[in-house]
């Protein structure tokens, strides 16, 4: 989550759901919290009962809107314009929490003279290279400071290897605490957001100025020393070609209003599945190692280069070598020594983009032999499902582990193109291995939930039949691989042989999940004792830790994640329920809940404070600061490492200890959020000549055609996809259950009465929705919960489609993700599923379903360009792999 990681230092929700009850205003945007997080939503209801204002901003009136004090409909894909408008409102009306902003954010810092804003460059930041289509971030830096690393999103590899650790000169940066200097961040922000007026917001988002100003006013009047407000978002914000910048916008608002690190404040990132946070902490991502440590890159020649690039001159990332070496000790045990570079060379080095969509595109070109799909149903859950199936057909083998035969497992048997006879199963060479999986009630393990909290679940029943846990599968796979390589003397096989792979087995083949947790927690290799906290990690190889941010989850040899002390037996923060990373902190950056002098900002919002007598930080939560560093501490000029963290630096992972209003490094598409239209839009970009995010990733193939940049006459409606409470994501956990399926039995779309009237759609009847990628059919729900918006004098209709259905399971239907194109955000390679254009007409589709993959490509529409002519190179794919380099 680089949006939060870049802004604050850690890629996780800054607060916990129970704390939402302390908020005085809650803005839910890019999330349908009541439907998708109904259990956590109780804390929003609690806040409401205590008098908080609840705002819901969304293209559709949902069950969340029904509970809100104010529902604001907006055009899908325009949230940055809306949030940018709020930022402008705060700045121009002088509503920022000044003392917080001056001390805890980088607002006063002077930025390099070379920086130029999209305001002056038609939508581009300075440093754009039209030949490569990338930004050189050199001009975005702070003045008088060299290259510096960002805390979040460290996996972005800088060009070249710096001669020494970056950011050692951070204390030399210049600041203007009066915020008046024309090149200070505060003034740059003012200039950047000057265009985001209430009128512009109305024109872009279709939001009336009255409603917009009401949101601004509620936010501002509920922020300050005595009051706080919170933001909640989910994939409605992330799944865009500028997804990361959506979250950055909210981060800027919350920093300006002084809402980070304080009770009732923060940004609640609502994750989509039970352990999605866990799967980025200990990642299933191609470019990260556990704990957000970047994968080695082919550019890094040796360990010292790798460590130099990834360490920071100041803040807790200066301890990078300790985190990395401990990970290597955990993985390779005795074999990881100083002589072997702790096993650095045994790790695979990446040479480019191996993200989900790139992998599928490679698969479709026959570049991949095998594919593991575990706990995922990409044919339904990811964009352009037909393109996915094209890829799967070209594999040699496919492994699917799931509860039921999902669409991904059945792609060769019941997919639409098989049913229509376009493809015959005997023509498909892919060998499919299906492994039935145990559910969470049938195995021990932990979930890391949306608020970074690990909760242990114990096995309640034995898994039926051949169902086994993922842990058992992975462990067995590893054991067999090790057997295969046991006698190998080839150097490249060394990592498999050196791997520590010896978990105690509860019964034959079933490893003890707690032993894995203990390994993740790590131990002191001298005393053999479990680690208590990540600050104990050493860079000399005397500690082992499987994920540095999880150090402490097995403190004292006790499974801290399994603690279940009821809320009524402890204070409201409930630190004895489960365990949250890092160091069981529930609100991150909570040093900011105290004023610069260490005293609480107000009695009402007291949380963590400096105990003058004991000379240490204390409070309701574990203080997110160096325990005994007094508020008055200031680093000397040239200080480095942890010594550079001043007494007023609440963001201890950041190189400068401050919340980043402006991101001088780390992001690929700009230091500030900028409104670009989605890849496919109904209108041109009102603010800049550049229509789309110039740094977006596209895949140009006949299987993945795009519409015109805007106003495509064939596809005149906005389409947005979403989930409903009754189903779970791609349906693998709900469409096989009768009690859930009966609640939402059929694929449907939601349209306004106006659109229904215009297109002749009948309530309860059928409709066919089309994009250039293909057609789907669904039932029609005509509802006033959707209403046409007025955008730039035009009427814009929006269609809502849930994406849960597919061609297997107890209830079936077309998958809405078949409508989507491969197009992605550059920072995290996420699909744009929340805003595109489409057409809708009454009636069912034909028996042979139209899909671009099967030779029904739409005519290529040239139309108006997405980019200013000559400023962006054409790339067939985001990255052409060069086998020679790999």
């Amino acid at each position: 989550m680089p949006g939060l990681g870049i802004s604050f230092g850690r890629g996780g929700a800054t607060t916990f759901q129970q704390d939402l009850k302390n908020a005085d205003v809650i803005v839910i945007q890019g999330s349908n919290m009541a439907e998708c997080h109904p259990v956590g939503f109780q804390w929003v209801m609690e806040a409401k009962a205590r008098g908080a204002k609840i705002v819901h901003v969304d293209p559709r009136f949902t069950r969340t809107s029904a509970m809100a004090d104010l529902y604001v409909p907006l055009r899908a894909g325009t949230d940055i314009a809306f949030l940018g408008g709020i930022i402008r409102y705060i700045l121009e009306n002088d509503r920022a929490f000044k003392e917080y902003v001056v001390n805890y954010t980088n607002a006063p810092v002077i930025v390099s003279d070379d920086y130029a804003d999209p305001e002056d460059l038609e939508g581009f930041f300075s440093g754009w290279d039209a030949a490569s289509g990338e930004y050189d971030t050199e001009t975005w830096k702070y003045a008088d400071v060299g290259d510096m690393p960002a805390a979040g999103h460290k996996e972005v590899v800088p060009k070249g290897v710096p001669p020494k650790v970056r950011g050692l000169d951070i204390t030399h940066r210049k600041s203007d605490p009066s915020l008046q200097h024309p090149r200070c961040v505060y003034q740059i922000l003012r200039k950047h957001f000057a265009r985001y007026t209430p009128e512009a917001v109305a024109d872009i988002c279709g939001v009336s100025p009255e409603k917009f100003l009401k949101v601004c006013e509620w936010l501002c009047e509920n922020s300050g020393p005595d009051r706080t407000g919170a933001f909640c978002y989910a994939v409605g914000w992330t799944q865009h070609t500028v997804g990361v910048q959506y979250i950055r916008s909210a981060a800027i608002i919350q920093l300006l209003l002084g809402n980070i690190g304080r009770p009732g404040g923060g940004i609640m990132a609502l994750r989509g599945h039970a352990s999605i946070q866990g799967s980025t902490d200990i990642p299933t991502l191609f470019n990260l190692l556990p704990g957000y440590l970047p994968m080695p890159h082919a550019n890094h020649d040796n360990l010292s280069e790798y460590l130099r690039i990834n360490s920071a001159g100041a803040g807790f990332w200066s301890e990078y070598p300790a985190y990395f070496v401990s990970l290597m000790k955990s993985w390779f045990g005795e074999a990881a020594t100083e002589e072997t570079d702790w096993g650095f060379r045994w790790l695979p080095a990446i040479s480019g983009d191996h993200s989900h969509m790139t992998t599928v595109a490679d698969m479709a070109q026959g570049k991949l032999r095998g594919y593991f799909v575990i706990g995922e149903n990409p044919v339904v859950g990811s964009s352009n499902g037909a393109y996915h199936r094209e890829g799967l057909r070209k594999l040699e083998w496919l492994v699917v582990r799931d509860f039921a035969l999902t669409e991904t497992a059945e792609f060769w048997r019941t997919a639409p193109e098989i049913a229509s006879g376009e493809i015959r199963p005997e023509e498909i060479g892919t060998e499919v291995f299906f492994f039935p999986a145990a559910t969470h009630t049938e195995k021990d393990g932990s979930f890391t939930n949306t608020q970074r909290m690990l909760q242990w679940h114990h096995k309640a029943v034995e898994p039926p039949g051949d169902c086994r846990s993922d842990l058992q599968f992975t462990y067995e796979l590893g054991k067999r691989l090790r057997e295969l390589y046991a006698d190998s003397t080839i150097d490249r096989d060394r990592p498999i042989r050196a791997l520590t792979w010896d978990y105690p087995e509860l019964k034959p083949g079933e490893p003890d999940a707690e032993a894995v947790l203990a390994e993740i927690n790590g131990r002191d290799l001298v005393t053999g004792k479990p680690l208590q906290k990540y600050a104990q990690l050493k860079r000399d190889g005397s500690t082992a830790c499987g994920c540095w941010i999880y150090a402490g989850v097995y403190a004292n040899g006790v499974n801290q994640a399994a603690r279940r002390k009821p809320a009524r037996e402890q204070h409201w923060v409930a630190p004895d329920w489960g365990w949250a990373w890092p160091d069981n902190r529930r609100i991150l950056y909570n040093r900011a809940s105290a004023a610069p002098d260490g005293k609480p900002w107000s009695e009402r919002k007291r949380y963590v404070w400096w105990d003058e007598e004991a000379q240490k930080w204390t409070g309701y939560d574990n203080p997110d600061f160096i325990a005994d560093r007094p508020p008055a501490y200031r680093p000397i000029l040239g200080a480095a490492g942890l010594d550079a963290i001043s007494g007023v630096d609440p963001f201890i992972l950041q190189i400068d200890g401050k919340g980043w209003l402006y991101a001088p490094a780390g992001l690929l598409d700009g230091p500030l959020p900028t409104h670009y239209e989605p890849e496919e839009s109904v209108v041109e970009n009102l603010l800049y000549r550049q229509q789309c995010n110039p740094r977006r990733l596209e895949w140009h193939t006949s299987s993945n055609p795009y519409h015109r940049a805007f106003a495509d006459p064939r596809f005149s409606c906005v389409l947005t996809t979403y989930r409903v409470t009754e189903h779970h994501t791609a349906g693998g956990m709900s469409r096989w259950l009768s009690w859930l399926s009966e609640l939402m039995p059929e694929m449907f779309c939601e349209v306004s009465p106006e659109l229904a009237g215009k297109r002749g759609l009948v309530h309860g009847g059928w409709a066919t929705i089309s994009t250039a990628r293909g057609d789907i059919e669904c039932r029609v729900l005509v509802t006033r919960r959707l209403s046409p918006l007025r955008v730039r004098g035009r009427t814009v209709h929006q269609i809502g489609v849930p994406y849960h259905w597919g061609y297997t399971g107890r209830v079936r239907g077309d998958s809405s993700n078949d409508l989507l194109a491969f197009v992605a955000d550059p920072n995290v390679h996420i699909q744009e599923s929340k805003a595109l254009t489409a057409d809708i007409r009454p009636g069912r589709r034909g028996r042979v379903r139209r899909a671009a993959v099967h030779g029904f490509p739409a005519r290529p529409e040239l139309g108006p360009p997405r980019d200013i002519v000559g400023l962006r190179p054409f790339k067939q794919q985001p990255l052409q792999h060069d086998p020679a380099k790999e």
């Binding site: 109904p38 939503f41 009136f61 069950r63 029904a66 529902y71 009690w739 209830v811």
Partner: protein
């Protein structure tokens, strides 16, 4: 005396109650039918749906909010009436009043006559197609015996369904109405909270806080237990019999 207070202003329509009820009581599904009735695809309470969430889309705002539209959600359930029509109509004694004040159909005694179905003013009791017996919410009698909260109330994430002692629930409900009125939601009121406001049923052991007319939620505005009219029916019948006898007599006597 135990019961439910269902506060519809807290209902987020998640249907956890419907699923928890089906799971605990092992009820079959109602078929997979898209109804088009907003987000409601199970339609109504019945022999296999003992909790049912209804959705009401209204182009008018809810008091105290700035939205121009509102979406009412209500989790409906057997009302366990203080004066229960089903119980009074049951000829076999299968329907009893339990020690918790709930109305319970004993499946081993029910003979499927169906008198209770027509005697319920809310249309709650329903016979199952396969065995013909009458089924409805038991207030989780088995859970109450084990000192557990009924499954629906246990799973409600927002406290819309509250289970407890009726006297306490009524106090809570009244103060909730006052609170909502103070917040500008003047339309909030209690439905069936006491015998005075709903004499036809003698008050409901599962009562509701509503924000629109009962009909909007598919509830009768003035439910009356049929047996309440027994006395009047018998009197009318008596009068009719006397009248008929008089007429007959008159016809015979009069030359």
């Amino acid at each position: 005396m135990k019961g439910f207070f269902t506060d519809t202003t807290l209902c987020i329509g998640c249907k956890a109650c419907e699923v928890a009820c089906k799971q605990w009581n092992q009820l079959p599904d109602d078929g997979f039918n898209f109804t088009g009735l907003s987000y409601d695809n199970t339609g109504h309470l019945g022999s296999s749906t003992w909790r049912h969430v209804s959705f009401v889309e209204r182009p008018v705002p809810l008091g105290g909010t700035l939205s121009s539209f509102s979406w009412l959600m209500m989790s409906d359930v057997c009302k366990h009436c203080a004066r229960a029509g089903c119980l009074e109509a049951c000829p076999t004694g299968a329907i009893v009043r339990t020690e918790f004040g709930s109305v319970y159909v004993q499946p081993d005694i029910c003979n499927g006559c169906g008198y209770c179905v027509s005697a319920c003013p809310f249309g709650v009791v329903d016979r199952r197609g396969d065995d013909g017996r009458a089924w409805k919410c038991t207030l989780c009698y088995d859970r109450l015996k084990a000192d557990l909260t009924p499954a629906c109330a246990k799973h409600c994430p927002t406290g819309s369904i509250q289970y407890g002692d009726l006297v306490e629930l009524r106090v809570k409900a009244r103060s909730r109405v006052e609170e909502l009125h103070a917040q500008g939601m003047g339309e909030a009121y209690l439905y069936g909270a006491d015998p005075e406001s709903q004499p036809g049923t003698g008050g409901l052991n599962a009562f509701f806080l509503l924000c629109d007319r009962p009909e909007k939620y598919n509830l009768p505005p003035d439910p009356v237990v049929p047996t309440k009219k027994v006395r009047r029916s018998w009197l009318s019948m008596g009068a009719a019999a006397v009248g008929l006898a008089a007429l007959t007599l008159a016809a015979v006597v009069t030359p």
